[in-house]
């Protein structure tokens, strides 16, 4: 592709403009076919945000490749032109990781959604990144297997997105995270080359780049195939629901369960406000008037679960449960889970708007932190509904506000930020599952030192020295990647300035 000469006055590395990205459309059509290249402004708008609707940016160009070779070719075009690119799975992320770059190409992976191979004897499957999380489990269920990392959005979220965020879900205290269930990745590097990280055996040779890549939020390359590890379906699953008159009492039960040497498959807790919302939404029938509801799921061989069940029951009672229910039948369990799973969406009934947080604190500090949140809420008049993974200290405070009331949104932001500060203060994390994205990059310097962030960015410089791969995410301040030969980047076609100076797209 011929490059036109630059004028002598153009700086060696001028930032790309939306026009530069849009100008790549013909090249992209050659690769993906015209139907899979979007330039119409209305169509572009539909991709302006992911699950975090507060951050919106319209991409300059959208492509929908259907194969790894197409993805690689698309990235090569971007790399040659010096145009940034962002990959998007199902667009359900909650940290804005898939928010497009205004002067960049959005590469939508949802067309690549085939399950390529299932090897039940090896307990492995190979899937394309656009496959939904639940589809993996459905594809392997006939073999008595399932895919363990199960974020609440699993019906729609993509495996590629799960890899980017190192997604967890309710069962990760026992079963681990995406990084523990991914054994190989075919990726397109930011330079546009296809390569494998890991070979699916789970035994790395050389550096564990697979482990570093998982959870890198789309900043180190684009996933085109995933080798997932599959888990045998448990022989038996029991769910216990216990209702308490206080969060503290519920917390005591959780501590004692862990102290008894039991690692439940899931431990979830909801406070009164969250329970109220869930009840209104799905009529889950949780015990009325409870200040806290605890869900404890036990899975494993029947002989072990029976013993654990008796212990858990006794502990829940001793902690002062006003009511305990148990279920081992899948339909009954689903009914009890429905309340918890509906919580995020359900709070929409209580409040016109809300902020979801995702902080983590050491489990033993949960009681203190919840008390701090209650105090914040009382002081500011901003209600907070609490839903959390009690077993691993991952909180999802739902900070409720009415955006029609002046000042309420700002106060909600303050509360939300104060909660994260509290998590850091207690030695926790600013994000347990949702990722940093754009939403929390400003908190990174509170959790990590400048040296920590600089060191992490060495990895970024190794994979993406030109800073084209999902730039602006995770790290608040990009690191200069050492001696990079001068970016001389000419626009592929000379673009006249738009009339009136308006943005072209």
């Amino acid at each position: 592709m011929a490059q036109t000469a630059t004028t002598t006055s153009e700086p060696a590395s001028a930032p790309p403009t939306p026009a530069d990205a849009a100008a790549l459309a013909p090249a992209m059509r050659e690769i993906c076919g015209p139907a899979d290249v979007l330039t119409d402004p209305l169509q572009l708008r539909t991709y302006e945000c992911d699950g975090l609707t507060s951050h919106r940016t319209v991409p300059a160009l959208v492509v929908l490749p259907e194969s790894a070779a197409e993805v690689a070719a698309v990235v090569r075009v971007c790399a040659r032109a010096g145009v940034p690119f962002v990959a998007r799975g199902s667009g359900t992320g909650l940290s804005g990781g898939a928010v497009p770059h205004a002067a960049g190409v959005l590469i939508v992976m949802s067309r690549m959604r085939r399950v390529l191979e299932v090897d039940p004897v090896s307990r492995r499957a190979v899937v394309e990144p656009g496959v939904t999380n639940l589809s993996v489990t459905q594809a392997v269920a006939p073999h008595g297997l399932f895919y363990a990392p199960d974020p609440s959005s699993q019906v729609v979220c993509s495996v590629g997105g799960n890899v980017a965020e190192n997604s967890g879900g309710a069962h990760c205290l026992k079963h681990g995270f995406t990084v523990n269930h991914v054994l190989g990745l075919e990726i397109v590097t930011p330079a546009g080359e296809l390569t494998w990280l890991g070979d699916g055996t789970g035994v790395p040779s050389g550096y564990d780049l697979l482990g570093a890549f998982t959870g890198s939020e789309g900043t180190l390359g684009i996933v085109t195939k995933v080798v997932v590890k599959l888990t045998p379906v448990a022989e038996t699953v029991h769910l216990v629901l216990a209702a308490y008159d206080s969060l503290e009492a519920g917390g005591r039960a959780v501590s004692d369960i862990i102290g008894a040497g039991i690692v439940p498959a899931a431990i979830e807790m909801m406070d009164a406000l969250a329970i109220e919302a869930a009840e209104a939404a799905v009529h889950c029938g949780y015990p009325e008037g409870a200040a806290a509801v605890l869900l404890v799921e036990l899975d494993g061989p029947a002989a072990e679960v029976e013993a654990e069940l008796a212990t858990v029951h006794a502990i829940c009672e001793r902690a002062g449960a006003r009511e305990i229910r148990a279920a081992d039948d899948p339909a009954q369990r689903a009914g009890i889970w429905a309340g918890r799973k509906s919580a995020f969406a359900a709070v929409g009934r209580l409040s016109p708007a809300y902020i979801v947080q995702d902080g983590v604190v050491p489990r033993t500090a949960l009681g203190d932190v919840l008390a701090r949140i209650a105090k914040l809420s009382a002081e500011t008049g901003i209600r907070v509904a609490n839903v959390f993974h009690a077993g691993d200290g991952n909180l999802h405070p739902l900070v409720l506000y009415n955006d029609a009331v002046p000042g309420e949104e700002e106060r909600a932001e303050l509360v939300s930020g104060a909660i994260l500060d509290t998590c850091i203060e207690y030695g926790g994390s600013i994000t347990g599952e949702h990722g940093v994205g754009v939403d929390k990059s400003r908190y990174m310097p509170k959790m990590f030192s400048a040296a920590d962030l600089d060191t992490m960015q060495l990895v970024r410089c190794a994979f993406d020295p030109a800073s084209l791969c999902n730039p602006g995410k995770v790290f608040p301040t990009p690191r200069l990647c050492g001696e990079v030969p001068g970016h001389r980047r000419a626009p592929l076609h000379p673009v006249p300035p738009a009339p009136g100076g308006a943005e072209i797209f």
Binding site: D119, P120, V121, R123, R124, G144, E165, N166, G168, C172, L173, V179, T189, W196, L197, G198, D199, T201, G202, V203, S205, G206, Y207, D208, L209, G211, T214, G215, P232, V233, E235, S255, G259, G261, G300, P301, E306, A307, P362, T364, H389, D392, G393, N394, G427, S429, T431, E433, G435, F448, A451, D452, D454, M456, L458, V459, C461, A462, F463, G482
Partner: protein, 429 residues
């Protein structure tokens, strides 16, 4: 001592409380910092004087892998040996890199918990992370990188950096811990690691069986590994090529639960026997005796039968008799080629001939060829010098490493001066 080394020794002694002359062929000096800060100061001195640095924990497997081509300074982590924090209620422990795994286990056991890794008691924390060492229970719990939730490292220029933290659930930032796991000291010095813990099981039982037919053994191994009875380990032992195959399954849990599960597992294996303790052949973490060559084969479990046949064929071709053990249910086996006459110099004449070549190196080469069509890794973990020399034409110690260019880019970012364990990088450069 030359004037130059005197200067270096003085500079090291100024920042580190324990500096000794080294033992050749190791570096001229050994420094044993007592803290991360001291270690950082030592690394700064090393950077100033452009010293090649090798880290040592217990040194038990320092001779494994590709040896460092140059070493001016050994950083010994033994003075950093504390369990800094054990938050039993959070199932988390923070440990210094020089702590011995046995000492750590004893501390954690006081609260009924463990780092669920089957590694030698004398191995250091930093060493097992840097080498990725794991034993039978990798099937259920994974390897060091799966249990690591936080790490503190010192870079080649002395910068101290942390990633992860103290909580199991944490996706903030890149996971440097995963990057450093298995990096054999080539990216930086690990000074501290935080692990997620598991409760110590109340009871355990082993179920063993012996097979003559490979296919029957493979079916049993897969069934045991994939069973809802939840095996903690499924191990194989085949002392001689073509010989009988012993299979052992470890079950952990409550006393009653383990009792009923092991009876059912015995049926699943077809005439299995339940025993309270590990069978005599039960392996720990991979190990090699003097003069032995240890080859690790990793594979997809559905290919186990083909892998065992390939091992037999390669052994026959090379005229060696390796003993095979390992976590067959997890897709990893180890071939121990005995120290024998006829390796090394005597075989130099046939080195490099495709398919031919006797001895341990020939075995590794032939095995690599035999499994070329599979998703399989063949890595020589350790070998005598003569065998290492002969591996050169047969894929080296590590064979083909996917993603090598990216690894080089990462190495160049972390250690632009190539002073950290130089030569240890996956392709030997």
């Amino acid at each position: 001592m030359t004037p130059e080394t005197a200067v270096i020794r003085k500079a090291l002694a100024a920042v580190c409380g324990d500096v000794r002359d080294g033992d050749p062929p190791e570096g001229a000096f050994t420094a044993a910092p007592g803290s991360t800060e001291e270690a950082a100061a030592v690394m700064r001195v090393a950077a100033e004087h452009e010293l090649a640095v090798v880290a040592r924990g217990s040194g038990s497997r320092l001779s494994w892998g590709i040896p460092a081509s140059r070493c001016d300074l050994v950083i010994d982590t033994s003075r950093m040996a504390e369990v800094t924090e054990h938050a039993a209620g959070d199932l988390v422990a923070r440990v210094q890199a020089g702590a011995r795994m046995g000492d750590v286990a004893a501390v954690l056991a006081q609260a009924g918990q463990e780092i669920a890794l089957d590694v030698p008691a004398d191995a250091s924390v930093g060493g097992i992370v840097a080498s990725g060492l794991a034993g039978p229970r990798r099937l259920r719990y994974g390897t060091p990188r799966d249990l690591l939730i936080g790490i503190t490292i010192v870079r080649a220029d002395g910068t101290v950096a942390k990633s992860g933290g103290k909580v199991v659930k944490n996706v903030a930032g890149y996971d440097l811990g995963k990057l450093f796991a298995g990096s054999a000291g080539t990216l930086g010095l690990i000074t501290e690691a935080t692990f997620r813990l598991h409760p110590l099981p109340a009871a355990r039982a082993y179920v063993t069986a012996e097979y003559v037919a490979v296919s029957v053994a493979c079916d049993a191994i897969a069934a045991a590994a994939n069973s809802p009875l939840v095996s903690s380990a499924v191990e194989l032992s085949r002392p001689a090529p073509g010989g009988p195959i012993r299979v052992g399954v470890l079950l952990e849990g409550s006393a009653d639960g383990v009792g009923s599960r092991s009876a059912r597992m015995a049926d699943l294996l077809g005439n299995g026997e339940v025993v309270a303790g590990p069978p005599a052949w039960w392996p720990g973490a991979p190990t090699a005796g003097p003069g032995e060559t240890l080859v690790r084969v990793s594979f997809w479990v559905s290919a186990l039968g083909r892998v065992l046949d390939a091992v037999d064929a390669a052994a026959g071709q090379a005229g060696v008799s390796p003993a095979i053990t390992g976590s067959a249910g997890a897709g990893v086996l180890y071939a121990r080629v005995p120290a024998a006459a006829g390796t090394g110099v005597a075989d130099a004449g046939v080195a490099g001939t495709e398919g031919a070549g006797a001895g341990a190196a020939g075995f590794a080469g032939a095995l690599r060829t035999a499994v070329a069509g599979e998703r399989c890794g063949v890595v020589v973990l350790t070998a005598p010098d003569a065998v290492r020399a002969e591996l050169a034409g047969r894929g080296g110690m590590n064979g083909t490493v996917p993603g090598l260019a990216l690894m080089r880019a990462v190495k160049d970012q972390f250690d632009p001066g190539h002073r950290l364990a130089p030569g240890r990088f996956p392709d030997g450069t």
